[in-house]
């Protein structure tokens, strides 16, 4: 009798725990699926081929697209990454390989603080540092703002990844009579390139969806532009502008934009994973 009771008690406890964990898992998944479903249904139905090939039409005219914003987002993200990746990875290497130094400890604190700065503040900062002196909204300012978003993510992931490489690997490299920089680049880093790439893509996809830092920097426009010193359109800002407008057609365009942005970020992640497996498969003398 005692035994049976105990078993029942244990089973109930097990069940309660299962319900609890399953429940929270579902609670997390519901909003995620709702977002995807919403964007998919609303966005896909508003999406036409024109969306990719046309520039916006004035209010009242049907059709038009966001070609300029798609190209703009890609340009801004590339610009941001071009600034953030070299600096970020180098900082990460420094934090991991020279962790004893005083500068390293200070730098780490700075990076932690940096990742907590709200993106709107980063936007204002870039506005004051770039837009005001140059007296114009510009792609350059947008790229810099995005790079500030990417930096702490790239630094942190690079540092963590390199720290996981055991010290005896570094010792083995040094004992071969290789200078430290070669050991870092060709022994420590070489094995981790695919992992570093994951961190970089993570940072890029995070920045690609940001609106706030672009509002006062790249600002946006309604036509194609490639100039670094001119305003540049981007999907998030364009979506924002269209979504808050009172016009039905523009709101539909905003949905389509949201859909494209989501697919863009998603496919970037998938592409990264694809490269990862490619790199991992590649072996042998290079």
């Amino acid at each position: 009798m005692m035994k049976l009771n105990y078993r029942l008690y244990r089973k109930t406890k097990n069940f309660a725990f299962l319900v609890l964990t399953l429940g929270s898992a579902i609670a997390v998944l519901i909003p995620l699926f709702m977002i995807i479903q919403f964007v998919l249904v609303q966005g896909a139905s508003s999406l036409t081929l024109d969306f990719f090939t046309e520039l916006p039409k004035p209010v009242g005219e049907l059709g038009g697209g966001m070609k300029h914003a798609i190209v703009g987002t890609i340009c801004l993200v590339i610009l941001g990454a071009a600034i953030a990746v070299p600096i970020g990875v180098t900082c990460g290497i420094y934090l991991s390989e020279f962790r004893k130094s005083k500068l390293s400890k200070n730098l780490k604190l700075t990076v932690d603080l940096m990742s907590g700065i709200p993106s709107i503040v980063i936007g204002i900062f870039a506005y004051l540092m770039v837009v005001v002196p140059l007296k114009s909204f510009s792609a350059l300012a947008g790229g810099i703002a995005l790079s500030i978003i990417m930096l702490p993510i790239i630094i942190k992931t690079s540092e963590e990844i390199l720290k996981l490489v055991p010290d005896h690997i570094r010792e083995a490299g040094l004992a071969l009579g290789l200078p430290r920089w070669k050991v870092i680049l060709f022994v420590v880093l070489k094995g981790e390139i695919s992992n570093l790439l994951t961190g970089i893509i993570l940072a890029i996809s995070r920045a690609a969806g940001e609106t706030a830092p672009l509002l006062f920097t790249a600002f946006g426009n309604m036509y194609m532009s490639y100039g670094l010193n001119q305003p540049m359109a981007s999907l998030p800002v364009q979506i924002y502008t269209y979504a808050i407008s009172p016009y039905k057609e523009w709101q539909k365009q905003a949905w389509a934009g949201a859909f494209v942005l989501m697919v863009l970020i998603l496919s970037m992640n998938l592409f990264a994973r694809y490269i990862l497996t490619k790199i991992k498969d590649k072996k042998g003398i290079s």
């Binding site: 004893k100 010290d167 005896h168 690997i169 570094r170 010792e171 083995a172 490299g173 040094l174 004992a175 071969l176 009579g177 290789l178 200078p179 070669k182 060709f186 022994v187 070489k190 094995g191 981790e192 072996k283 042998g284 003398i285 290079s286």
Partner: protein, 258 residues
């Protein structure tokens, strides 16, 4: 055994001490090594053999909080001198570590030739030739010749250790430090590595840590006995193993403690 008294002294430790933080692991060791000899270091576990060996190529200082005192003279020049380039020291004094440490994410072939390649040698045929001859010397060639492009870490522990030996040989250092290179190997591979040591003795000086008394007696010209960070006794292996001067040496080699 050959008479080595006229051979040139290639490496010399003078009052060498080593610490991990406040803990002193090596307590003032003075000894010299003659060119083209095999020198064994024996002693109970934890007595500071690895630490001492790691001071001879300045790898000890890579550990956080670790430091050394005293001198190590390589061909008369103190490797701890500020003017000396540590990279050059390590190029001339190779090392096989106690734990196998092949480079992960590198193929077997890349593991062996990475040292040469990063020294600027890029001719594929040269690299392949070196790889084959070093892998042969390390008694690994036959086992890996058909899978040179698989990962170094995919090998067994003993194979990995032989890969590390091949890697150390590839850069051709005149002095080779080996920390228990055969402790993970079967008798056949062990015999081959011992054969290798006898072979490379023609050109190289070898300092080897071993827990295997027979091995030390078989292959080494000189033996040092370490105990609690001190070198209790050093001399011709033929003397140490047949006629040790110190009581603790005798106790250790006859298996009465350790």
């Amino acid at each position: 055994m050959t008479d080595y008294n006229h051979a040139k002294i290639i490496l010399e430790a003078k009052k060498l001490e080593a610490w991990f933080g406040d803990f002193q692991a090596v307590k003032g060791i003075t000894v010299d090594y003659r060119e083209k000899t095999i020198n064994a270091i024996i002693g109970p576990s934890g007595c500071g053999k690895s630490t001492y060996l790691r001071c001879l190529n300045r790898i000890h200082e890579e550990i956080e909080g670790a430091r050394t005192a005293g001198e190590v003279l390589l061909e008369g020049e103190n490797i701890y001198d500020k003017k000396v380039d540590v990279v050059d020291v390590r190029r001339r004094i190779g090392m096989v570590f106690q734990k196998p440490n092949p480079f992960p994410s590198m193929s077997i072939l890349d593991n062996v030739v990475i040292g040469l390649r990063l020294q600027g040698i890029s001719k594929r045929s040269t690299l392949l030739e070196t790889a084959e001859s070093c892998l042969r010397k390390a008694a690994l060639w036959d086992e890996v010749k058909d899978k040179l492009s698989s990962m170094g870490t995919s090998l067994s522990g003993g194979q990995q250790q032989r890969l590390c030996i091949a890697r150390a040989l590839a850069v051709n250092p005149p002095v080779l430090l080996m920390d228990e290179p055969t402790s993970a190997l079967d008798p056949i591979a062990t015999a081959k590595i011992e054969e290798l040591m006898n072979e490379i003795k023609k050109d190289y000086t070898v300092i080897i840590v071993t827990h295997n008394m027979q091995q030390a007696a078989r292959i080494s010209d000189f033996t040092s006995f370490f105990h609690y960070g001190n070198m209790v006794e050093h001399g011709m292996s033929s003397n140490i193993f047949t006629n040790p001067k110190e009581k603790s040496t005798e106790d250790y080699i006859s298996g009465r403690f350790g």
